[in-house]
């Protein structure tokens, strides 16, 4: 089986409007159908990099971006890119569960309705499918019309995961998705990701280094905007090549 690079990032530099430099000379290849973990101390640029991948940075005060981000060979930083289509292809789960102020079902159908889908059979099927993938179906199948805000924190976050799956993206970005969740919910999310990686390219910013070690097929260590080291998860956490990586992984700083 040929392992493909889903995302190729070439020499990405990003600077915010207030002058703080956030990403410097990032070069990284993200493998398809695997979990790639971006880890490192706060301020390393990991979230910024995630937001580049679905052009969500367009909404913030970014001053300059240079370099290329190729998804399936096409540069998404090109101004001609259709960002709407891109964001359907690249789903995102945020750190705090943000459920839309609607019912559970409507949260799931929202994305498809944006695209113009009106057939309720299609919407329902999508809702069921994504809830099952997020391991939430059994818990909510009888109350799809309840307001989503009534769910517990862990359930809400899995709903957000399901919501991002409803449009059948190819890539899923997760920015500290379990940071507010209890260990059981965290476990459910991590288990769901292990299932999902068979068909989706997953990029995860973990909230602890333990989570990074648990879930990573590939791992990238970011420090203050620079990519320090990148390799297979099994090696990076046990036999890191760079001293800085080793210091962080062993807890000498953080």
């Amino acid at each position: 089986m040929v392992v493909m690079n889903k995302i190729v990032i070439e020499n990405l530099n990003l600077q915010y409007a207030d002058g703080t430099e956030s990403l410097r000379h990032i070069n990284i290849d993200i493998r398809e159908n695997a979990i790639t973990v971006l880890f490192g101390p706060a301020g390393g640029g990991k979230s910024t990099l995630l937001r580049c991948l679905n052009r969500l940075n367009d909404l913030t005060e970014v001053k300059t971006v240079s370099g290329r981000i190729l998804i399936d060979g096409k540069d998404i930083l090109d101004p001609q890119t259709d960002t709407i289509v891109l964001r359907r292809k690249v789903g995102m789960v945020f750190a705090r569960p943000v459920v839309l102020p609607m019912s559970i079902y409507q949260n799931l159908s929202y994305g498809l309705e944006l695209a113009g889908e009106k057939r309720s059979s299609v919407l329902y099927e999508a809702a069921e499918r994504s809830l099952k993938l997020a391991a939430l179906w059994d818990e909510v199948k009888d109350r799809l019309d309840d307001p989503a805000i009534a769910l517990s924190g862990g359930q809400q976050q899995r709903l957000c995961l399901a919501r991002s799956l409803a449009q059948q993206p190819e890539i899923i970005l997760l920015d500290e998705p379990t940071s507010g969740l209890d260990p059981i919910s965290t476990g459910k999310v991590e288990a769901a990701l292990q299932e999902l990686k068979r068909n989706y390219t997953i990029i995860l910013v973990p909230h602890s280094i333990q989570q990074a070690a648990r879930t990573a097929d590939y791992a990238a260590f970011f420090l203050q905007g620079e990519l320090v080291e990148y390799g297979e998860g099994s090696e990076l956490f046990t036999k890191p090549k760079e001293k800085r990586t080793e210091d962080y992984v062993t807890g000498r700083f953080g």
Partner: protein, 281 residues
């Protein structure tokens, strides 16, 4: 010990100040209710006046105020909400935006009689609409605009930014996000502001003095180009310019106007508190 004594004195003083401010409010409302209720009857509310306004009812004035309020709503509500959407969702902090905000603050501060002058100059004379419901409504609309824009913008900004981010990340355009999430969630707040703005417009006299209000009208207005009677103007004239005006009718008219205005206030308050209870965020 001295500190605590001065605190006690100070608190008592301020309490008295507050009482002295609040009691007259209640007093005014209660007094008008007491004095005005004897005049209220089915006839008073549904029949036109007779004998130079000294007998009969005030139906045309009630209907006139109703027309003017609706007319004001038609012009000011869509424009005001759209402007609020622009300020909240589209504008950046540029010089032009600051100019817009300054303009809004200014519109809010212009004396109501100056609006009347403006309405006279532009709508009645220059555009030749004459003294009419149309002129008066347009004048009142511009006056009400700043209130609607401010409250609507506040309601829109209160909607959590996270919703917009999530919506965009799912592939929505800015307008889709506004239409599907932001506006519906802000609607109760916007509605409250609209009602409070219209309540003010309904009670204003000076802007309609030379633009649409009339006192002796033989018939109800037939089109928007007709002048109309209106409650605030009616009250003004019967209390200052009509000799031998029965006091009972004056109080009755004041009461009807008060109930109209307080009623709107009550509706706005109810909408506000119900929305707060049902909020999903």
């Amino acid at each position: 010990m001295n500190r605590h004594l001065s605190q006690r004195l100070g608190f008592s003083l301020l309490t008295m100040v507050a009482v002295f401010t609040v009691v007259p409010i209640i007093g005014v409302i209660v007094y008008i209710f007491i004095q005005g209720s004897p005049a209220i009857s089915w006839e008073f509310l549904t029949v036109a006046p007779r004998a130079g306004m000294r007998e009969g009812g005030i139906l045309p004035a009630i209907i006139g105020t109703f027309y003017l309020t609706i007319g004001t709503a038609i012009f000011s509500v869509p424009l005001g909400i759209a402007a609020a959407v622009y300020l909240s969702e589209y504008s950046a902090d540029t010089r032009w935006t600051r100019l817009i905000r300054l303009a809004i603050i200014n519109l809010a501060g212009i004396p109501s009689v100056v609006y009347g002058l403006f309405g006279l100059g532009l709508f009645v004379l220059f555009l030749n609409f004459g003294t009419s419901i149309l002129s008066a409504s347009l004048t009142l609309s511009i006056m009400t605009l700043p209130v609607i824009i401010s409250t609507a913008e506040e309601a829109l900004r209160a909607v959590p930014q996270a919703f917009r981010t999530v919506s965009i990340s799912l592939g929505a355009t800015r307008w889709q996000t506004i239409r599907r999430i932001v506006l519906p969630q802000a609607l109760p707040g916007i509605l409250t502001g609209v009602i409070l703005g219209l309540e003010r417009a309904a009670g204003e006299t000076a802007p309609i003095l030379f633009t649409g209000a009339a006192f002796f009208l033989p018939r109800l207005p037939g089109s928007v180009f007709d002048a109309t009677m209106a409650l605030p103007y009616h009250l003004f004239v019967i209390s200052t310019q009509v000799p031998e005006m029965p006091i009972r009718i004056q109080y009755g008219t004041a009461l009807v106007l008060l109930v109209f205005v307080l009623g709107m206030n009550l509706i706005a308050t109810v909408i506000r508190s119900r929305a707060r209870a049902r909020r999903q965020w």
